[in-house]
């Protein structure tokens, strides 16, 4: 937060795009997920960190238990109505910049369970950046999601020019 506002309004655009690229490169190469494995998708998320589908190559193998130290929240599994307030609370505790990957069809749209107990899509509770279909998605699918998120982070403008009216 502080970096963007102080530096942003002082430097012209050419330098800010270069700085954008640098900061985004740093952010996308070390996306640290918060542990939010709920159900079966959590097992595939764990499989993503194992030796075959090594997610450490993307810098994302450090699963932080505390949301205060995490960048992305991978909502892996079905979100029940009892868990939804907890989900929102953990999301609120994450500092900016933060992203959300909705893993699996249960998190994206309720999945197989269209009933009283499951929130039909986690985007009813938190804003989602990448949806991953699958029941459960293959670990390669989740790595695809992280790569898509990396592309999204690359396009972000960190140092915004303040337009003075």
């Amino acid at each position: 937060m502080g970096l963007e506002t102080t530096v942003g309004d002082l430097l012209p655009e050419v330098i800010t795009t270069r700085l954008d690229a640098l900061v985004n490169w740093g952010r996308k190469s070390s996306i640290w997920p918060a542990t939010f494995g709920l159900a079966c998708c959590a097992i595939e998320m764990m499989a993503m960190t194992d030796a075959r589908n090594d997610v450490a190559r993307f810098g994302a193998e450090v699963f932080r238990a505390s949301p205060r130290q995490a960048d992305v929240m991978i909502v892996a599994g079905r979100v029940s109505i009892k868990m939804a307030p907890v989900l929102r609370r953990i999301y609120d505790q994450m500092p900016e910049p933060k992203w959300v990957i909705s893993m699996g069809v249960c998190a994206s749209a309720g999945g197989v369970f269209n009933n009283y107990a499951i929130v039909q899509g986690v985007d009813k509770v938190v804003p989602v950046d990448v949806f991953v279909p699958g029941c459960p998605p293959r670990p390669e699918g989740l790595i695809w999601a992280i790569m898509k998120l990396q592309e999204k982070i690359e396009r972000e403008k960190v140092f915004k020019e303040e337009k003075v009216a």
Binding site: I81, K82, N114, N115, Y116, A117
Partner: protein, 166 residues
């Protein structure tokens, strides 16, 4: 297409169920009916005298039902009378036999005495039935919702509860 069903070389052995005639003589007033179907024995019992029947089943040496496997709730229909049926699935580790005790309850008075003093596993199993069906257990040490949020209204597994909830 033929109607024959293929049989495997080793015939299927179903779990052994105990012969309920041993118990029927002693508990004439509690036991309503004994049904034998699908290689299983179901004893339909009344609520009064249920604890005495269960204690006898647990302590009698030839029966020795020391393991309460499961309590399953069943809603027989919105307008059915009796409405609820609780099935106690008992198993004996010493004799390797099973028994099902079924208790039928009306909608106006869905209360059953608790089995917690007899088997500790009844604690959570009864809480789940309370949560899903609304059947209360007299004498339960901690009867509150277990699966749904604490302030949830409604009992989801009843037949008049819509699948999408309210």
């Amino acid at each position: 297409m033929s109607e024959s069903i293929e049989r495997a070389p080793s015939a299927t052995q179903y779990p052994r169920y105990v012969d309920a005639s041993q118990v029927r003589g002693k508990f004439e007033t509690t036991i309503e009916e004994v049904i034998e179907a699908v290689s299983e024995v179901t004893v339909i019992a009344r609520r009064d005298g249920l604890v005495a029947l269960m204690t006898h089943l647990r302590d009698e040496p030839s029966l020795r039902f020391d393991y309460l496997s499961d309590i399953a709730g069943l809603d027989l229909g919105e307008f059915a009378s009796p409405r609820f049926a609780l099935s106690y699935h008992l198993y004996s580790l010493t004799h390797n036999h099973r028994l099902r005790i079924k208790v039928l309850l009306d909608e106006e008075d869905p209360r059953v005495p608790t089995m917690c003093p007899l088997w500790k596993s009844a604690n959570w199993l009864e809480r789940e039935i309370y949560d899903m069906f609304g059947v209360t257990f007299d004498g339960h040490p901690d009867l509150r919702r277990i699966l749904m949020p604490v302030d949830y209204e409604g009992h989801p597994l009843r037949k008049d509860f819509p699948i999408k909830g309210y």
